[in-house]
Amino acid sequence: MSPPPGLTLLYLLAAVLFIVGLSQLSSPRHARRGNLIAAVGMALALGTTVPLLHPSGLTLGLIALGIVVGAPVGALAARAVRMTAMPQMVASFNGVGGGAAALVGAAEYLRAPVGGAALALSLPVVFSVVIGAVSFSGSGIAYAKLQELMRGTPITYAGQQAVNGAVAVAIVVLSVLLVVSGVGGAALLALLLLALLLGVAFVLPIGGADMPVVISLLNAFTGLAVAGDGFVVGSPVLIVGGTLVGASGTFLTKMMSDAMGRSLGNILFGAFGQVVATVGATAGPEGRSVRAGGAEDIGTLLAYAQRVIIVPGYGLAVAQAQHAARELADALERRGVTVDYAIHPVAGRMPGHMNVLLAEANVPYEQLKEMDVINDSFKNTDVALVVGANDVVNPAARSTPGSPIFGMPILDVDQAHAIVFLKRSMRPGFAGIDNELLYDPKTVLMFGDAKDSLTKLVAVVKAA
């Protein structure tokens, strides 16, 4: 269907607003406006669609029903979610988008079963159904892993490669059949189910710590599926919107895996064939002693330092300790101590996740230092205060070639004069590997909930 020229120009304007919105998201100062501009573009695209419709009353009612059901669900979920659960929220919104993309392709196939001749139509239909469905079920598994509804560690079993390979081959065969000979609805349903299965099989063997990369990749997948649907329904705004997300999402995925010092291939397929790899890494230092300290000792150490760097991690987020961390920083600054926050690119669960949490606690934007900026400062730092972080300061990333995190850039906390870890227990970090730094003579550990510990430290610093 090709709309009248006036409406086509409105769609073009919507696409431009998407592009402007995305580019404004690149600066902290304009990011919020960028999101609003993209939302205006979306409203325009939807408004432009209305005059194109000539449906019966029933159809119009059903479309309204879908919107009336969907809108409050999305709005309420987005309002209610805690900042710590943001990654799985993005995963689920991405998943439903992928599901919608698969269904749009499927519906178009059902409406006009295509034969070998209409390659330009059947090819994007099959593409969108497969990619959209993989994104839907893959996002579901990513959500379940992050929400701890299921085990976060890689799930592997004997013959996994053979099973996944068989599913992939079946999908290719069915796709070719559908494209070439248009074999009909039952085959399409089978393709949909197989693609859902592939999404599950694809994400199961990937560990919880790598989920952000997976979500980013699936976000790009959904974008591509939407672009495919743009060809199916002949809508340039779908092609532009989907492709923008597909391209930028792919680039973002690569940047995220680079920040972890690993190739995308290693993240996605690393768990295959090494079912017991992590056991050896955690078995080593049983029985070695660590130095634990109380709030008095550690608070005094901080109060009389000249320069303190706070290294926040996911533990801080889980304990909702971002406000307590800012109070401690304020108390230290009133005593003339210089305080900065060192933000690892993948601190928390997603790049930028920790910045969002600390911004929520009114930490000034200027005090948040990225890894490359602050790493040289640790050697002139009296105390590095590590709050609920582990893997991102683990020197094994530099020194232990067999380690799962080997090669990941880390914060050089080990160069500080003294190191304080606030930890709940001796349990290793998300990657499941032990941290040599905990046994370092210049390290002191304070066990307990991060928020409680920080509150105690604030009291000691104020009294000192």
Binding site: I19, S23, P28, N35, M42, P55, G74, L103, G246, L252
Partner: protein
């Protein structure tokens, strides 16, 4: 290959380059909001869902269409709202010094 398809492919190729160019200037700290914002933008599939529902024939196609509309609406509304919530927190609380640091 007809002219319509050629122009669609042209749009696709150009959009790929725009997508790369736009994101290469984004600082690390905005990656999560950016992912969330782009996640909302692929909610434009709602346009496609509405179009196919409007031209659906029979109960099955209508049902598939309505489910697609509902899912896409969740994607759009939730995506923009959650991104706005994230970015709300980046408001500068201290007066910002003019010029680069």
């Amino acid at each position: 290959m007809n002219a319509h398809l050629v122009s669609e492919i042209s749009i696709l190729v150009l959009a790929v380059f725009v997508g790369f160019a736009v994101i290469s200037r984004v600082p690390t700290i905005l990656h999560t909001p950016l992912m969330s914002g782009s996640n909302a933008i692929h909610g434009v599939i709602l346009v496609g869902a509405i179009l196919i529902t409007a031209s659906a024939h029979g109960a099955l196609q209508l049902a598939v269409g309505v489910v697609a509309v509902a899912l896409a609406t969740i994607n759009v509304v939730g995506g923009f709202v959650v991104t706005d919530r994230m970015l709300e927190m980046f408001k500068s609380r201290r007066p910002r010094r003019p010029g680069p640091p």
